[in-house]
């Protein structure tokens, strides 16, 4: 193991890790947004919206994320979508993560006992009032942990954008391998940084989960 080399290049890896973090945060925000919309569609009163939600989920969970990125980044210009690699990465991964989050959010909502909605409705609350006063506050508490799992997967999935040359951790490792011929050290360095990010995410999720629990 070439520790000297690792010490020499790690500042560049830290910079790349920052890109991975920014990419993850933006992707998570877009993913949550798409997930909330997707779940609302899946649970809608209207069959057409339910169908659209189901189609979204099966399309994006049923094909490789890498392929989705390629279609967006390489195929996009052909149909008039011009994105730089970073934008394509955020949008592609965000929409993909949203499909998984749709199912997470929907799962938390439907696991709330149906007596809760009934009790709210018997008091005279409308469908929407029952949803936002009674169902969503309870579902939100339930979804913290499973959304944490989605977030964990999402951080790791950001490595895929190396394939469209976004200069994040994995891409940086590959680039330094090209000049140093030390794949073990370079991937190890990237791996350690991924682990630190994932560990921080895990701690954050656990903290939030504890914080939102009802006494």
């Amino acid at each position: 193991m070439d520790f000297d080399l690792m010490l020499k290049v790690y500042p560049f890896f830290l910079e790349a890790a920052l890109t991975t973090i920014v990419l993850s945060v933006l992707t998570a925000i877009l993913g949550l947004f798409c997930g909330a919309l997707g779940a609302a569609a899946r649970l809608s009163r209207f069959a057409l919206l339910r169908f659209a939600g189901a189609a979204y989920v099966s399309l994006f969970r049923g094909t490789p994320a890498l392929l989705q990125l390629f279609i967006l980044y390489f195929g996009g210009p052909q149909i008039g979508i011009q994105l730089d690699a970073f934008e394509a990465g955020v949008i592609g991964l965000g929409i993909n993560a949203g499909a998984y989050m749709t199912e997470t959010i929907r799962g938390s909502i439907i696991s709330i006992d149906k007596g809760q909605r009934e009790a709210a409705r018997t008091l005279g609350l409308s469908r929407w009032q029952a949803t936002y006063k009674v169902i969503l506050p309870q579902a939100a508490r339930l979804m913290v942990r499973p959304l944490g799992v989605n977030l964990n997967m999402l951080v790791k999935a950001t490595a895929l954008v190396a394939a469209i040359s976004v200069v994040e951790l994995t891409y940086t490792a590959q680039r330094y391998i090209g000049s140093t011929y030390k794949p073990f050290e370079m991937f190890l360095l990237a791996g350690v940084l991924y682990m630190i990010i994932i560990y921080a995410v895990g701690r954050g999720v656990a903290w939030l989960d504890r914080k939102v629990q009802i006494t």
Partner: protein
């Protein structure tokens, strides 16, 4: 159809879940201030009938009238939602499993709907919560969460929550069935208190003694029909139908 003569009128109520007919042409009148008990074996349709009154389980046939207004009238979706929300505000319901909102304290459980639907200020809402929780003997636990309360206490908070909307009538669906035996009495006492205040109530129960002591009238249901009804002294002591006798025999012996 003609104008209703009674406070609550159920006319030829019919309900099917798919091919299964759960309520078969049930008619029932309840006067203001009356307390009606419904007994019957499991699956006879007691809950379905009760839940039809506030449209939780909409009827597939027949009419329900409350205080001169038809509950299940035919209206376009949006208007119907408005109408039914207004009707439900007038009917309090208490469930076997309490269905308290676990993310809200007793106070919040009681005040949420009045604040949201009647625009009560926080100070008025607090006064209301104190008043209603005091009535059910739960004032000391006003800032407790449901998870910190016993079953009997939860059910009393649930009753206070329903009463806070100042309903015209109350529906109880086996309010004490999920409780440990030693907690039944505290809930029964609250219901008796409501009876003394002449709250109109329909009470589905498996407790014959309780039904006999508070109800003006008791209905025995079996397989989706009302087999027999009458004042408790008569229905319990001297029922006219063989099916009623058999049910009571089983039930009263089962209890011993």
């Amino acid at each position: 159809m003609s104008e209703p003569l009674h406070f609550v009128e159920i006319r030829h109520a019919q309900k099917s879940f798919g091919a299964v007919e759960v309520l078969k042409d049930i008619s029932l009148n309840v006067e203001r201030g009356q307390i009606v008990g419904i007994i019957g074996s499991s699956g006879s349709g007691k809950s379905t009938l009760l839940r039809a009154i506030n449209d939780l389980d909409p009827l597939t046939g027949g009419e329900i009238w409350l205080d001169g207004v038809q509950v299940n009238k035919a209206l376009p979706h949006r208007q119907y939602e408005k109408h039914i929300n207004a009707m439900r505000q007038q009917v309090g319901m208490v469930f076997q499993h309490f269905n308290l909102f676990p993310h809200m304290t007793a106070r919040e459980n009681v005040t949420m709907a009045p604040k949201l639907l009647k625009g009560l200020s926080q100070s008025d809402a607090d006064k209301l919560a104190e008043e209603q929780l005091d009535k059910v003997g739960m004032l000391e636990r006003i800032d407790y969460y449901p998870s910190q309360l016993s079953g009997g206490q939860k059910q009393r908070v649930a009753i206070a929550r329903a009463l806070a909307m100042k309903p015209k009538m109350m529906l109880f669906d086996e309010a004490t069935s999920a409780l440990d035996p030693e907690l039944v009495e505290e809930v029964n006492l609250v219901m008796k208190k409501l009876a003394e205040e002449h709250m109109t109530m329909i009470i589905v129960t498996h407790e014959m003694d309780f039904a006999a002591s508070v109800c003006d009238r008791v209905l025995f249901m079996d397989k989706g029909i009302v087999v027999e009804e009458g004042p408790p002294e008569i229905l319990f002591k001297n029922p006219s139908k063989e099916r009623t006798r058999e049910f009571l025999r089983k039930h009263i012996e089962g209890a011993k």
